[in-house]
Symmetry: D2
Subunit: 338 residues, 4 copies
């Protein structure tokens, strides 16, 4: 960590900062420069609250060198984490596909979709029972009836369930019905919710906030890991930028950066990332090529009749074509689609 | 609302879209153009879920013309909303100042700050008992002990309390201790929380999400209004952009845009908006000049000792200078600082 | 095109807008709605200057439906453009690789690099003679001496040259030395330069501006096409966002969007897009998988000694590994690396 | 400056970096930490080309502490720069208003506007003869005929002229006709143009690039200053973000940041910053309150007939109201409108 003093900072102010650093049990290394003094800090700086130092007189800024996350960091754990979900393990040699409708649909459609997926070699079904909707007047999901339908779909077919939880009070109910509990983009920094899923006993799929830095995302994962839940799977879903040709801007280069800084697996959601079904296949292939551990996509037997997000939802034929293309490039990359 | 068809869309596809529109009880106005057909939609389009139409074959995109918010819209209510908080009313002729430390501090500091504010003509004290922190290892606030201190500060001095709530289960406790319940930037789209504060019986200060569009922000307000709570106060606090000279990019032009589209009052938080105390005064003045209904700023008797956010916290002298400057330009603008 | 009137717009104002539209030789379709009137416009709207209509009294906004580019649009030309560069043709079945040092280096290094590339099956060499540098105190390129070295490298080896031009007065000199003239990200909207390269007689590689929308990028291409030069190749190189884990945010989903809206080929520059050499290989593979027509990357025999951009420059071994990986997935995708 | 080594960097790699630093005539201060080594650099680091160090083996990143601009920096010149333009001086006690149509209009309109401005106490007229237009099919300005009209307006009235230059070859002609030469947002990093106006002998108004950081903007100013031209005036005009309620996001907090880091004056353009005339007045007032040295706005006797940018152009009545409001708050702020 580095404290940069203002150019007009006095010797007294430099001394006061050094004193404050040392009183925190850390070492201070003042470096007087031609225009200003910088002060290096060494020791266990991860626990420092920056605002304890940046408020001091004469301080211009503090620059973090050591990353503030610990349990999520590659330095803490060199080997890639492996997360088991039913018959599937999310790990570098595999490429996991999660698919299903945006919202839980009728029991017939859920069953039809689950069976289609299992026939396609896919064992993870996604669908939302609780739906975060921008408008209070939009359909808010089937809620507990949705959970019930997900359970009966699982019981009938053996498919595993990925579904979203939106508030701490729902965690127990959702974790009881789901194989993977999903935290949506709007809740990436819902800290009470993160603490609660850290104790829920099920793997957690943590979507990136729509304007979250990589560091904030890994710090959100750190909340879950610190709660004792080691099964965290990250999921990139596009970030918010000025660009308006897609619904969000899919940040695929975050994939190798996650791998560089963390041992956690990372998936990509090209459906929300692009917002248009004809862009899903190329971005699914690109996700695999970029080194992601899997994808999550929206499918529906008849997207024109889907309860929500029809524009970005593929039909079964499109999904089958995507799986074929994925399998073709997975082999030379040493990966297995599952 | 306008549906834009793909240039190669067939006559059948256009007919199907028209049929779907009419089956929703709306009117469709097809306009065949030189390269493609567009279809205007009139009627009560606010309730339309876009994904019901954008998923149809041949549709390129749907463009909203009517805004999707109703209760928050200027068209629904022409006169500016007025929100009473103790002796103060947030309304266009006044300019409300809310100030206090980032987190609840010791009882002595809280008392000292409240008395200083009241002496300065300010009757709204802010301080966080529940703190959303990026790191699980940072101080998370005094929680219920913090609420108790806020209450005793109010009881001892008569100051009004503005404090944040982070999860639905806390709403009752926070609303009991606070005069204004604050929703932080990370929770702007925490819909279960918005629904709950819509029923809490206290005014709600709704901070803008760090990457929220104006429409999403007003839709979040709509959730609270739709719950029956008419006392919503918006608060701009900076958005996330590529710019790195301030902690966030304060979007002051949103102030006249809010006034244009909505009847709700809007404050500005120049402390979080800039992240540096020496930028707070110019941006506070600019907020007043831009037409905001007030500001929320961080102050502390000794910012270097503040529990959090010291760098952006003003001391009492700086606050006094700010108040003097605000009063000087408020008079010619026909506004009264309170 | 659609004009949206303000909700309080008068009948006279609507009439005046209709009149203005018709006086431009277009058709106006007024659609009175429940809260406001919208006016559809059909006819050859591409030539309309929006500011002629948006300034009229009572107009809230104008929404373009037809895209403003013509020569660049897929609707104008359904078949993909093919651009020949020496022995290579940029077209959907191939995947073109352009590589070389950031700046022109010594004659030995240029020769060594060109021969290595030709041995690797790559015939396009990139290197900058004129360098746009953020600081006036940084090395500004070898300029005309750089062009001379590029020519002698081509003469000695037969490699084709891709190099940047920065101002209209340089176009003739650069076009004489280069096989492809490159327009850098900072000059994407340098309109005098675009007009000049529209007449230069060589293919133009047009990098996307660092905050350009897809529409602005295609309009920049339109400037070149309108000058009579049909050989325009687009190149995505990352855009500017809040994200700080890479130098820029590589927007790979723009690739299928370009293909959807335009017939022009599009390459990706993962070196500038990420800024770190160990992220170049995964993003190069992802570019191929996403459907790009090729990549441009920075290589150097000894990146630690490179004159500029060493951090994102691969050495020859890394490049060889990248080519192997690209070839492995190109085959199943029906593409040929060249 | 600080070099952060990778956590697995070897002692040899650290030594090599230290050696490279010392060979540049600088001092290296290695600081071994618990997880990695950082190396402080002191001496005249402004001239260091980062890519000379970041490409070395074992280096994770380089962090600049000293700003790379020199002539533009507040540290180099403590007192605010003053720029004289005819009867006006841009300096902290004044608040300069520049106004006029977007493009040069007919001689009658130019004359009418100039006389109106002079009657209003404003002596700087803006209008574009060369217009950067997104579309090659849009009106590109009157070009040299435009310059002629500007000159005749000046000769007839005594108004001073601010007008844009778009390419190096035009600089002499524009500087001959103008009192202030303007560099537009798209040309902020057109380095050949910056070098040329550094020698033009007229004050330069340098607009911020639409996605430029403060550092890049000041580095662009540095190009002009380094050419020998001390009369640089900065102009904020809004940056590109996800926000869509205004044409650009006006970044008013850049004003106190410019004042903090540089001695150069800074204006604000609320017309381009917002894109709507009814938002111009509040943002003009906010610019003054935030400490800007002036504003540049678009006016036209009949905005509905303006050749371009009608939606953001004020009529004379609106301008008069704006001037009255500005004068009312200028007095208490110790500023004089001119």
């Amino acid at each position: 960590m580095l404290i940069v003093m203002q150019s007009q900072a006095t010797t007294e102010q430099v001394k006061e900062v050094v004193h404050r650093i040392e009183s925190m049990g850390l070492d201070a290394h003042p470096m007087p420069g031609s225009t200003r003094t910088a002060i290096g800090i060494t020791g266990n700086t991860a626990a420092i609250d920056p605002s304890r130092l940046t408020g001091l007189a004469g301080v211009r800024e503090m620059i973090r060198v050591t990353k503030p996350f610990k349990l999520a960091s590659r330095e803490m754990q060199v080997d890639d984490s492996r997360v088991a979900i039913g018959p599937v393990t999310v790990e570098p040699k595999s490429f996991v596909v999660i698919a299903g409708p945006c919202s839980v649909e009728s029991e017939e459609i859920m069953l039809q979709t689950a069976e289609f997926l299992l026939d396609s070699g896919v064992s993870l079904l996604r669908a939302g029972a609780f739906k975060p909707r921008t408008s209070p007047y939009s359909f808010q999901g089937l809620e507990h009836e949705g959970l019930r339908r997900l359970e009966s779909t699982r019981n009938a077919t053996g498919v595993c369930i990925v579904t979203e939880v939106m508030e701490p009070e729902q965690v127990d109910a959702v974790a009881a019905s789901a194989d993977v509990v999903q935290i949506g983009t709007r809740n990436m920094q819902n800290f009470p919710l993160l603490k609660r899923v850290g104790k829920c006993g099920k793997p957690v799929l943590l979507k990136r906030g729509m304007s979250a830095t990589l560091e904030e995302w890994l710090m959100a994962a750190e909340y879950i890991l610190a709660g004792g839940n080691k099964d965290v799977i990250l999921c990139e879903r596009g970030v918010r930028t000025f660009a308006n040709h897609t619904r969000n801007t899919l940040d695929l280069s975050v994939v190798p950066c996650v791998k560089d800084q963390s041992h956690l697996p990372v998936l990509v959601d090209p459906s929300h990332g692009t917002g248009r079904r004809d862009f899903v296949i190329p971005m699914a292939l690109a996700s695999l090529a970029a080194g992601a551990d899997g994808i999550m996509v929206e499918i529906h037997p008849d997207p024109e009749q889907a309860v929500s997000d029809g524009a970005q939802t593929m039909n079964f034929d499109q999904f089958t074509r995507m799986m074929q293309s994925l399998r073709q490039i997975a082999a030379p990359l040493g990966r297995t689609i599952c």
